[in-house]
Structure formats: structure tokens, C-alpha cells
Symmetry: C3
Subunit: 437 residues, 3 copies
């Protein structure tokens, strides 16, 4: 059966277009941390991957938190004194403050303004705002539109329900040879925002679909969850599973044209951190140490769990002007960026899958590679030099203490070259896997 390496070798960047199309299909749906929009989203993902839809009832205690009431929107608008809809949820779901409670009343503009959110410095964009944990209602709109509103009596209509129900998340589990797991987590709670985080949803589901078709050493668990409350809920209900997580990544912001960026796990030098840095080697990228704010890595890396989970993105949240605005749209995310992100995740998975310790079976001096056809025969000739160097590195460092990641780091050679050298040396019976770790 083929493996992750094969996925890389036959990787076709044209998949970027497929990913972009999936984002386009999910874009109009109004998602939040609960509600039918999330169910509809996971239903579409089920067409591609074996994702299970979990429902956690409102009121369930999850560590210090409680699963909130479920929120659904039927309609929401604001009419001006002339009775014209000047703000309409159906026009763009960002217009409604996420988790707005129902309201139907009239009020003068001056009073309404306390419930309106704009971005004066980006006057054409609608901001994204939420009020999950304080009962409130409000509308978001472009600053330009706000300035056009005339004084007078406005009619406000927010037809939402905030009631007992459940928190919905998606979980796709792909069992592997061992029950040690790789966790890939992405937040699925944002409404019409493409890079944050339909890009993460699209890349993760494509990654799951790819891995489903190949042999896997690790088990893989993909979580599609609402930010913060989702990871807290999952961890609270799956403490035993958390203990099996060997490596993890939080996936988001994977469709913008920016360079890659890695935020390390709290441990700072976990295998996942080193695997990502190896996969990023040679391409321009940013790296930063763990900080206890950001996405769900803050929960996975809370001191009571301290899981080896980093966050691998393109431009990090908050560092691009389109962030949390209506400009984070289908134009902002690019097919080629999505394809590159998927490929990078496959590269990381390839390192994790292949990273083992080997034992040089001929540890005293070099073996005679020449008589095994693994070495140049005319001294002074330089063909095939790279392949030989990889063989020598693997032989020299396969002392039971170094794994392939160590060898790739210390040698500076491509991981694929190290993998190839391992295969050649195993075929020549000069190397065996060290299984007594």
C-alpha cells in the first residue's frame, strides 16, 4: 500500500482549484459556535471524508466552562425612517453581531448607534464581531454606510433563537498502525470569512481525504470545532484520548498569498516543532515561540495538558488588513496558496510518519559501499555525490541515538534524500530499524 511519500510524489497543484471551489460553496453559510450553519457545513464535508458530527447538549459542564445555548438566525435587518432595509443579514451574514439576541423595536438613530460596529479606518469593510458570553444584539456595517444614515426612527428586527440545543463539532478519525495520534484542529465557527477559516477547513478535509487512502503509522484525528469553547469541550470529554496525542497542529489562515508562519508548541522543541521547521526549510517563512493567546493551541497547550501542538498558518491572524472583515473573501484566498498549504501539511506528515531511529549494522568503520553498487568506482569523479553523502550521514548517525529528523537537521540534506538513503541501506542489509526505543 502506498504511503504519504507517494502522496507527495504524485501531488498535483491543480487541487488548489478544487479547494477554492469547496470554499466558495461553504462561504455563504452563516456559522457560529453553535447552530445549523455548522451542521450544514459538516454535511458538505461528509461528501468527502468520514467526518462524524457530534452534538454536546447545552449546559454540559466542560472544565471551567458550560456549553452555551444554541444560536440560530432566521432573519435580521434594520429599516430606515423611509422603511428601506439599510442593513440586511441576508445581504451579508457579517452584518449581524454574532450571537445577537432577538429584538424587534424602533429607536432613534442615536440610540441605534450604540449597537452598530464599523471600522472607521477601513470605511468600505464590514467588521466581524461576536458577543458569545454577554447577551447583546448589534449590527456591523461599513463606516461609509453608517455615515449615510440619516437621523430619524429606525426599525430593528433580529429574528434569532438562543435556546437549549447543542454545540456541534465534526470529528474525522483515521486509525493507523498505532493508537498514538496526530491531531489536526481547525476552527469552524466563523461565518463568511474565507481565509479565517474556510481555508483551514478546506485544507484539513483535503488532507484527511488524502491520508485516508494511504498506509498510516499514526492514527489521525481531525477536529472541526468552534474556537475556544470547542477545544475546551473536546478536551473535557476526551481526556483519555488527549493522552495519546503525539503531535498536533492548529490549522488556519491557509489561503492568503503570504509566506508560511509557524508558532511553536509550548514545549518549544517537540518533534512536531522540528518536523515543521524541517518542512519549511528552504522556503521563506516566519517562526515564533509559543504565546498563550491565539487559536485553540492555547487550550491544547494549557499547563494541565501541555500537548505538543503548534500552529501552522500562512499570515497569522490579525496581521493582514482583511482579517475579520468582509474583505476576507473569495478573492483574497488563492487556489495556489491553498495547494501549497496542503502540500506543506503533507510534508510535515511525511516527516512524522518516517521519523524513526535506525541502527547501523556495520558500525565500525564505513561498510564498503562500492561493492554493493552504492559508491562511485573512479575516485575523483563527482557524479552521484549527493546520494553518497546521504548514505554516509545515515550510516554515521544511526547509532540508536539519532532519528531521521536529527540526521536531516545535522546534515542539512533534504528529508527525501535521507529517506532514500535509508531504503537503500535497508535493502543492502546495512541498517535496521531500532525498535527498542
Amino acid at each position: 500500500m502506498s504511503g504519504v511519500r507517494d502522496l507527495l510524489e504524485r501531488f498535483d497543484p491543480a487541487i488548489g482549484t478544487t479547494l477554492h471551489e469547496r470554499i466558495a460553496r461553504l462561504y455563504p453559510i452563516c456559522r457560529s459556535i453553535t447552530g445549523d450553519g455548522v451542521r450544514e457545513t459538516f454535511g458538505i464535508l461528509q461528501e468527502e471524508i468520514p467526518i462524524e458530527i457530534r452534538e454536546v447538549p447545552t449546559g454540559t459542564p466542560v472544565f471551567d466552562w458550560t456549553v452555551p445555548r444554541e444560536w440560530n438566525v432566521h432573519d435580521a435587518w434594520v429599516k430606515n425612517p423611509a422603511g428601506e432595509k439599510v442593513i440586511d443579514f441576508r445581504e451579508h451574514n457579517l452584518h449581524l453581531l454574532n450571537y445577537s439576541v432577538p429584538v424587534h423595536r424602533k429607536m432613534p438613530l442615536s440610540e441605534l448607534k450604540e449597537h452598530l460596529f464599523t471600522l472607521p479606518k477601513q470605511p468600505d469593510l464590514i467588521p466581524y464581531r461576536t458577543s458569545y458570553y454577554r447577551e447583546s444584539w448589534g449590527f456591523c456595517l461599513s463606516h461609509r454606510r453608517l455615515q449615510e444614515l440619516e437621523e430619524g426612527e429606525y426599525e430593528i428586527f433580529v429574528d434569532t433563537t438562543l435556546a437549549a440545543g447543542s454545540l456541534t463539532y465534526g470529528e474525522c478519525f483515521l486509525p493507523g498502525e498505532t493508537d498514538r495520534e496526530v491531531l489536526i484542529s481547525c476552527h469552524s465557527c466563523h461565518p463568511s470569512l474565507c481565509n479565517d477559516n474556510l481555508s483551514g477547513i478546506a485544507v484539513c478535509s483535503a488532507l484527511a481525504a488524502s491520508l485516508e487512502g494511504v498506509a498510516r503509522r499514526y492514527s489521525y484525528r481531525f477536529l472541526f470545532i468552534p474556537g475556544t469553547i470547542g477545544s475546551i469541550t473536546w478536551l473535557a470529554l476526551n481526556e483519555a484520548v488527549a493522552g495519546r496525542i503525539a503531535h498536533g497542529l492548529v490549522a488556519a489562515n491557509l489561503g492568503d498569498p503570504g509566506k508560511f508562519h509557524y508558532k511553536k508548541s509550548r514545549r518549544g522543541n517537540a518533534e512536531i516543532d522540528r518536523a515543521v521547521l524541517l518542512a519549511l526549510r528552504g522556503s521563506e517563512h516566519g517562526v515564533e515561540e509559543f504565546v498563550p493567546f491565539g487559536y485553540d493551541e492555547r487550550q491544547y497547550c494549557s499547563p494541565g495538558f501541555d500537548l505538543p501542538v503548534g500552529s501552522l498558518t500562512r499570515t497569522p491572524y490579525g496581521r493582514y488588513p482583511q482579517y475579520h472583515t468582509s474583505a476576507d473573501d473569495l478573492v483574497f484566498v488563492r487556489p495556489e496558496a491553498l495547494a501549497g498549504s496542503l502540500r506543506l501539511y503533507l510534508e510535515v506528515v511525511n516527516v512524522l510518519e518516517s521519523n524513526r531511529r535506525y541502527l547501523n549494522l556495520n558500525p565500525k568503520c564505513e561498510p564498503q559501499l562500492g561493492r554493493r553498487g552504492l559508491y562511485r568506482t573512479i575516485g575523483g569523479d563527482d557524479h552521484g555525490r549527493e546520494r553518497e553523502l546521504a548514505l554516509l550521514w545515515v550510516l554515521n548517525l544511526s547509532d540508536g541515538r539519532h532519528d531521521l529528523l536529527d540526521i536531516a537537521e545535522r546534515s542539512g540534506m533534504p528529508f527525501a534524500a535521507i529517506q532514500d538513503a535509508v531504503r537503500s541501506l535497508q535493502d543492502a542489509e546495512l541498517l535496521r530499524e531500532e525498535t527498542t526505543v
Copy 2:
């Protein structure tokens, strides 16, 4: 009862003037490693702080050394062939080679010159010279005055006593909650030199006076001692006490207008070293590794003690042209520099006093700060962000392994912000001090 943090909050830079006035009062006194000048100095300090004056008899063996004879000066001058005093101790006490033995004779200028010390490259300044451990006599004068001396017979009169007596030092001990001590040591053996080290004496006595009035976790021991022989004597007579020194600083050169400079303890990464670097963060400063020469840190950091004692100064000794000359005077030391030095010492003490380990009582995922009023309620709003970051840092790193110094270092946040976060989290019962260190 208020603590060190309160001292910082109500710190008034006008104290610099008070410190400068104290220096002005101590300036005319002729100090040495023994003698009445030191007793007079400590007598003045007693007006402000509970300093005890210790007398160690001449001849007392102190490790490899012996407490020397006591030296006192009554008068000293040189008269030229015309009978005019051309060098006069009463005019400036630097004129007399410190520890000169008595002499009263006449000699030609050529012979006298072997006993005269000048600074040809700084022709207007009187140098400071000593001869503690070899019996000698001599005079120091400006090179310009030396050049004016005419040939002829000179009368030399050195009316000193060098006799059995004692070595005098001052010790101010402020007991705290624990018997673990912070040692602050300054040399008090120099005659009329302001930066080196009346500045250290003034800052240390003001620091002691301040700390006397607040609650203290550590006990504090201030030593006012002659350089080298003083610290050796103290260590020889207080070996048991030395074992209780948890942190220490040697204080000197604290009144010049230069930037701060820290010389690390021999250990190099002791808590005192990290506390000082934290206090210096954000201000221009110099740092250097321990070297076994300098001030009394060379004794505290001798291998048989290896105490965690660094040296925190402004411009280090020997690196300013006024050093060990008559130009190290009341103009050279500045009120604002003295106040800044005192404040910095308080900042360091604040870190030491507050640096503890805490335990996050809700270690699995973040606690819900919002319902405790510790978090913004509208997502996307950026007010109060700094305070929240400090809360998150303290929660994330309070796993029993990190103390507040670790958290301040890793987060890059101000120590005061970390302290405030601790207080808030303790109030919310989300944090408790880890006492089983």
C-alpha cells in the same frame, strides 16, 4: 503593611538632592581601611539607619590575611626651601599617600620626588594612591604643581599613627520573614572621592532606610566595609551567616551620569543576575560576565564561597577619567543619577521579594475569565489587551516549574504587569502560591 512595590509607586526622584547633600557632608572626611574617619562616617549614617559599628582588633587572623594596624592622620605637609607649604593634607586629603608612615625630615627635591605621585596625562588632578601592605610614605599632587617645584631642600612632615587598634566596619541588619538574606555591600574606605564610593554609601543607606519601613520577605544585610580586607574579615568572622545569603550586590559608582552596568555573579545565571537584568530591561545598560577582579565580589565569589553576588554600578571603576582622582568630586556626582540608582536597586529588590512560583488552580484549558470580569466581552475589541495577556501568561506558566521571573522573561512583559496579574488571579481564586519548593 506596605511592601517594596509601594516604595516604587510612591518613589520621589527629589530624594536625589538629599542623597547629594549626604555625600557633601561625608566628602571632607579622610577615610581609609581603618581609622577614625570611618568611625565618623558611620556615626553620620547612624542618624538615618540602624547601623552597628563593629571593631575587629589589629592582628586578628582572617583566612590568609591579618587585620592590619590602624592608621590615623593628624597632619601632613611638605614645605619648600622657602618654608612655604606646597603640599598640604588639610587642603585635600588625597595629597597624602594613604597609609603613609610617620616621617619628619628634610631632603632635596630629587630625593623627595621618589615619594611623589602625579598624573602627567591629567596634569591638573591629584591622584589617589595607597600603600596598605608595604610600609611607605608619600604625597600625591597635580603634575602641574610638581613641575612648579624648585630645586632645593624640602621639609617633609607626616604626622600619622600606624598602631595596634582595630578595623572598623558598619553593619545594618533588617530581619525579614525568613532568615535567608540579601547582602548589599559597599566599600567605605576611600577618602574624598564621591562616585567611588560615597555614592554607594549614600544609595545603600537610603535603600536600608526605605526597606526598614516596609514588610520584607528576605532579611537584608548592608555592609559598609573597607575594600578587600573588609569583605575578607567579614566572611572570616561570619561563615555561618554567609551560608544564608540568597542574593547579593556590591554597590559602587552610583552617582555618575553614565548608564548602568551589571557584572554578573560567578554563577552567571543566579536569580540575582536574572533579577537585575529584568530590572534593567528597556534602559540602555551594559552587562558583563564575572571576572575575578574588581570590588568585593571577588571575595564573595571566591571558589570557597561562590555566593550569588553581582555588582551593579553606573560607569564601572577605571572607565571614567575622574576615577581615583580629585575630579571625582561633588560636581561629578548628580542628584538625578543617585535617585535613579536608588530606584533601580528598589526595582531589583521588588523582583526578589515578589519572585515566587504559583499554581494555576484551573490548569486544564483556560478558565472563563469573562464571567469573572477579567476579559473583554465583545470579541474583536482591543481595550485592556495588555492586562489580559499578563493574565494568560501567568495562568499558562504557573505549572509549579516557573516563577515570576521566568514568566516576565519569557513573556517580555513588565514585571509590574505580571505582579498585577498574580494579584487578580489570586483574588479570583484561580492561583495559589506554590509553597512546596
Copy 3:
């Protein structure tokens, strides 16, 4: 009896001329990994040092390898259609592909060309090529001469023997106070190439001759061996001895005018690595981490041995255009470069010989150096400051944990100054050697 330090003090750079003369004498001999040329070479070295000539029979198994047949050359040439010798081994021994099997036939130029090696980018130089482990024959020549060859039938005559015999290597062992050894290894398998590696042979034999005449703490083992197969053979036959190797260097490329270059041992921070870096301090040089290719360090540092052996050269192999060509000749290697290399090796050996731990016998505070004549008596005077600093460094760090290499590294002082301070302090009974390591 004098020691290595004395060799340094009386070192005369004029020895460079002697070394160059020895290279000139060895230059015409055709060496290979076996054969009479190597025996003749060692015979000449025997005039200077007690080198033993070892013979290991063809067919001896040495780890994964087998000692090859012995190769000797009687004559070799190529005649053009006109019967003129156009390539002649007697003119330059690089002309013959090393380890060519016998052949005597005629063939057209087109067929002959498959056996000819040139350097098109260095058209005037003869390359150096070998075929040790695949039976072949060939000639090396300048590209210019190749281009002058006319079409037609050529006569090829290679009169070599490749037959059972032995592998010859030279071993010079100088016993010391302990049986722990310093290994100095150089390859002796190259024909007429001066920098690679008659320079190594010359420097090593001069070093052995020098060390023979002085007291030695370590035993010294100099190996003159064919590259790769020689070190493998020696290690296979001397596994017990290998366990006594405390430090080692592979010596090569020591006569070119380039700066020094050190390639660290696989361990990366072995005492030999630090000793070499200390000896190189202050001179321009290059340093690189271990890589598992290069010279015989790849065998000494194979994982089954992992000996602390680095490689100390001038310009490393392959990084100068004369490398492995006829331009690596008597003009390329310089007397002054050879002398400088010998001196550097002596510096390294001096550090190794002297590097011990000492105990400060007065560890609590500084001893009173002044009454022992080891310190200035007038404070403020700066003469003899360097000597005092070295005394203070040695006293402060001689706590049983630091050796002289540590002290030289941390203080930044010259190793000779540290050595002198040790001597003074031992004379003053303030220091003794720590023997319970």
C-alpha cells in the same frame, strides 16, 4: 627533562626549509595504497624517527573490507601512430591511473579516449585518478595534450603487477607517562602530490622527532597509512588500542599558503576540539562541524568507534585549484607554511599535555598575593597587571571542576599565561594538582 612548552619556546621557523627538502626528496616516488613506493617512503622517514613498517597480507579481512592485492608499476606509456611516447609514466607518475591493471595492445584513438582522463577547465594540468576497487586501466594527461593527439592507432603499454602481497603502513609509537594516547594520522597513499599529502607526512614526522626528545604525559601514536583502507585496517587490527585514544588529529594539506582550518570531531566538543580552537585563537582560521566524509576521521569517527579525532589542515581538500592535479607540486607548498603548521601542532600538543585540574588551597577569599611577592604593592599602579589577572583567574576557577582549558577559554587569556600562573601558584603552595578526577 624539558617538555613541549620548551619546544615551543625554542621553536625555529627555519625548520620549514628542512621540511620542504624532505618533501622534495619524497616527491618523485610513486605511492599508492600498497606497493614498494610506500616502503621506500617509510624507509626515508626511518632516518629521522623510530617508525615501524607494518605489512598486512592481501586478503586479510578488516571489518567489511578485505586488504587488496598489492600494486607495483614498472613502466607505462602510450605511443602515437608514429611510435612516439606521448604519455609516459616516467615523466610524471600522475599519468597512470592509479591501480591500473597490465595491458599491452593497440587501439584507435577513439577507443583509447575512453581510458583517458583530463581536466578541460584546467587544460595544462594532469589530474590524479584512482581505480582501487574496480579493475581498470587508464592514463591521465593535460587536456591540451589530449587535444594535440591525432587520429590513428596507438600502442598502450601498462607494465604493472596487481598480485597477492601486502598493505604497508608506518607506525611510530612514543610511550609517555600514561598509556592514554594521542593519535596523529596522515595518509601516505598519494603519488607525486605535495600538499596532499607529503606536507602531512613531513609535519607529522617532524612532530614525532620533536616529541621524541621531551617528557610526555600522553603516549603518542603516529600512523602513516593509506587513506580509508589504511585506517580501516589499523582499527580492525588494533581495536584494544583504539580504546586508549584520548585525543586525535588527522593531518593533511599543511603546506599551502592558506589559513588554518579545523574540522571538529563527531563529538563536537571533545577536549581535542577545544584545544585546537584555543591554539587557533587570535589567528584567522576556519572551523566546521564534523561531516562523515573527508579523510580518515570518517573511520575514526564511525559510530562504532566515535573517537575524539578532528582534522587540522590548512586549506581543506578540494577547495584549492591545485588539489589532485600536477599543480600540487614543490612550488605550491612553502617552507614558512610547513613551519607554521608544525608550530600549531606543537601548540595543540602543549595544551593537551598541560591541561589538568588544580585545587586552590586557599579557596575562601583571595590569598594575600602581595606578601608572597606576587602582587603590586602600590595600589593604582598598573604594571604586571596581566600576570596578576592570570593568577586571579587560576585561583578563582581552580575549584576542582575547571581545567586549564576552561580557564583559558573563560578568561580569554593566553594559555602560556595560564601555565605560568599555575607554576607561580604551585611554587607558593597555593595550588595543587587535582588527581582524583
